[in-house]
Symmetry: C2
Subunit: 467 residues, 2 copies
């Protein structure tokens, strides 16, 4: 035991420098027990003699011993002194396969994946200004558990904004705040399943992440047919089992078209005739560059359309703030599903976004970002026209991504070449529904993702891999 104490004492001195004497001693003793250096049943020196060894007050040692007895590390019995508590041997942790086998993939030099806005443009100072105003003015109850639908201040500001900017017919009491589009879709999946819906029709191409989520909720996800004018909503009537359809009417993801007026009408007609619901994913509806954005489909029939919007593209994904505008008879079910897992968004961010919207800072930010992304899209179009004149860019001038059509059969090799040169970019076939036959080759270029300093390099790298 003498050797043990020598080592142990050295450790103790190391620990004792950094913090309170008692706490440092406790940490050192815990560590010695945990590591097995002090085995079960080993008798510790008396508090008097250890205190003398360490040059500390006896009470410090006695307190540390008493504390560790209370915590279950040591035992103290009259006549038997203080000992390490008897304990079965710790189990060796099984090394996790996923941890050890995780492949190390280098970060690409340039990232043109779609789905992320320019994070460098997050308006930190304006956000902090809104936070200060909102937090100092909020009632005390704002910091409590709160309404699962979200803060009334934010729902009120959103009702005004969405009506004005997106033609959404919203009242604050029909809005439920969620922590992202995916959260909203998960809640809708639960509610639809509880309503005995078995199928949710989806667009192809589309986001596999969303399909997986509906699939995990126990819903089948038949794909809608599409043609060069976009998703064929006329096909909805033929899907006898579909209780809902998930769509991106303002800017189809990823192909990039806007749903045509007659097909908007056909979708609403289907919903009215069948009692089905349209789940409108308005992920980037604020960003249109050639004209005013087309209003949301929801305005056509607020009782048949669930409108889902998000701050992830207009501000930043890190805020984890999104919103659902619900038909009246769905509000309670969605709020109950959300409340059942205590799944709420931060009150401070909700209050801040409410102030950000009400003060006009949100409008200013969206206008600035619209110019910013428009410039990027124009540069992309110009660079592709100059360097690869036969490459067509499909879709409307909108959003944060564009589809570059490639000669048939070349998509995979172009992506591989790009990866080899440090450019991360995705192909359209990654977004193809499993039931849909391949119809085109192309790249989905997220031009919002790179920072300003990386943008021209990313564009140059992209042009190099185009035919």
């Amino acid at each position: 035991m003498a050797d043990e104490w020598a080592t142990f004492g050295a450790d103790l001195h190391l620990e004792l420098r950094g913090q309170g004497l008692r706490d440092g001693l406790m940490d050192a003793l815990r560590e010695a027990v945990r590591s097995g250096r002090l085995g079960a049943g080993v008798r510790l020196p008396s508090s008097r003699s250890l205190a003398a060894d360490l040059g500390v007050a006896r009470n410090t040692v006695a307190d540390a011993y008493a504390e560790l007895v209370a915590e279950g590390w040591l035992t103290a019995r009259q006549g038997s002194g203080t000992r390490v508590a008897p304990r079965s041997a710790p189990r060796r942790p099984v090394p996790s396969r996923t941890t050890t086998a995780r492949p190390r993939v280098g970060r690409p030099t340039y990232d043109l994946h779609p789905g992320t806005p320019d994070l460098a443009s997050f308006p930190r100072a304006d956000w902090l200004k809104a936070a200060r105003k909102a937090l100092l003015a909020a009632p005390h109850e704002a910091f409590g558990y709160g309404d699962p639908r979200g803060r009334i201040e934010l729902r009120t500001a959103l009702a005004e904004y969405l009506g004005r900017a997106r033609g959404v017919h919203a009242r604050p009491e029909h809005i439920v705040i969620c922590s992202g589009f995916v959260h909203g879709l998960m809640l809708m999946g639960q509610v639809l399943k509880a309503r005995r819906v078995r199928e949710v029709a989806v667009e192809s191409y589309g986001l596999d992440l969303h399909w997986d989520l509906l699939d995990r909720a126990g819903l089948r996800i038949p794909a809608l047919p599409f043609d060069e004018r976009g998703t064929r909503t006329e096909g909805l009537g033929a899907l006898a089992g579909a209780g809902a359809v998930l769509m991106t009417p303002a800017h189809q993801f990823p192909l990039g078209g806007a749903l045509q007026p007659d097909r908007r009408a056909a979708a609403v007609d289907w919903a009215r005739a069948s009692g089905g619901l349209i789940l409108e994913d308005d992920y980037d509806g604020e960003f249109r560059y050639d004209r005013q954005p087309v209003g949301a489909l929801q305005g056509l029939d607020p009782e048949r359309v669930v409108y889902l919007g998000t701050a992830s593209k207009s501000l930043a994904p890190g805020l984890r703030l999104a919103w659902m505008v619900l038909p009246r008879d769905l509000v309670d079910e969605v709020a109950a599903a959300k409340g059942a897992v205590d799944w709420a968004s931060s009150a401070t961010d909700q209050l801040t976004l409410a102030e950000f919207l009400a003060s006009g800072a949100y409008d200013r930010h969206v206008r600035a970002m619209r110019l910013h992304y428009r410039r990027r899209r124009d540069q992309l179009v110009a660079a592709v026209a100059a360097r690869s004149p036969r490459t067509r860019i499909s879709g409307i001038a909108a959003g944060l991504h564009a589809v570059l059509e490639l000669p048939p059969g070349t998509e995979e090799s172009v992506i591989r070449t790009a990866a080899f040169q440090g450019l991360a970019v995705q192909g359209v076939n990654r977004f193809r529904h499993p039931d849909t036959a391949p119809t085109m080759d192309g790249l989905v270029v997220g031009y919002g993702t790179p920072s300003d300093s990386a943008w021209s390099g990313a564009l140059e790298a992209l042009c190099r891999v185009l035919p």
Copy 2:
């Protein structure tokens, strides 16, 4: 149609005052179609004649018409003019039973429900100061989608803090941030279920909210026996099927005892011998008034204990921030379960809490609140001793609630009397596990909940209903 236009024109003028001419006209037209005042197929006046009626430029009307055609409200065909789009009649929404039948319960004058801290004490100015420092210093990628485990800055600050204040053996890479204890428990329920665990033993008394959550995850929840010294962890071995146990070792909820050293050891021994896990709910471990808090059970064996802590009691539930310290081989499974539903906490709040911890503001706040709640508990104890000397207060001097024991058979009538006098308070039997026979009558008094101005009134109201 002349009459219709007269009404419609009046509406238009109302709308047009408040916003841009084109947008105002669009809103008025949408509303007229939605309400049915302009029926399907109705032909609208030419843009020239409506512009003259309204005294606006013809282009304003033509733009509005074009926009509404794009949105699917109107149709425009050569030779047929602009008409309201043909549409099936909107379905009347079915009135929701839950909305219309919701009973209106008056708010009590005084609220002594446990579970909420004093919201008036949320340190708004210090929080904003930390937010400013953290947000201005954060890297751009902090505002992106991020690691499902949470921000590294926060996990690093928590590892240091939890080690120092709660004796938790934590490394940042073993911490997963979640949005509340319930979120963490839900993730653990999923992971345990996937590992083919079928039972999670729970304490009785305890929180039915947590039992329901485990039940919904498909887990059985046998209750552990207990006696006057607390939960009988020695009974764990007899529960052959239990793969985990959910406990509140520092301060049993609601009964208020601290788990005794031998029973702490017995719980860890069971976990080691059986390969089971202990889920340690350390909801108010920072608030102990008679001595230093007993360290977390997790320190005894970090590979067999999942430690769950939260900012909901120490700061505010509205932040939606909590943390799990996980055994090494659970980290990837929990992070995957969390990431699968994109369920993240706000990056801004995570960065702010990291700075709040690192700057020492968290320690200062906890110290101040400890004094605050200790004073309230002392006042409660003194008032009960003076006004109802035979009422015993059980449990240790800790946390935000106390249990007042009542004469057998009186609990229900005391709560009813209290409610009648505007005092909301809960009985212990509300927290009794369905498999446990009633053993006592009592009140669970949350003395942290009232604001300072309401506290003396709440205390007086409480004393009036005690025997």
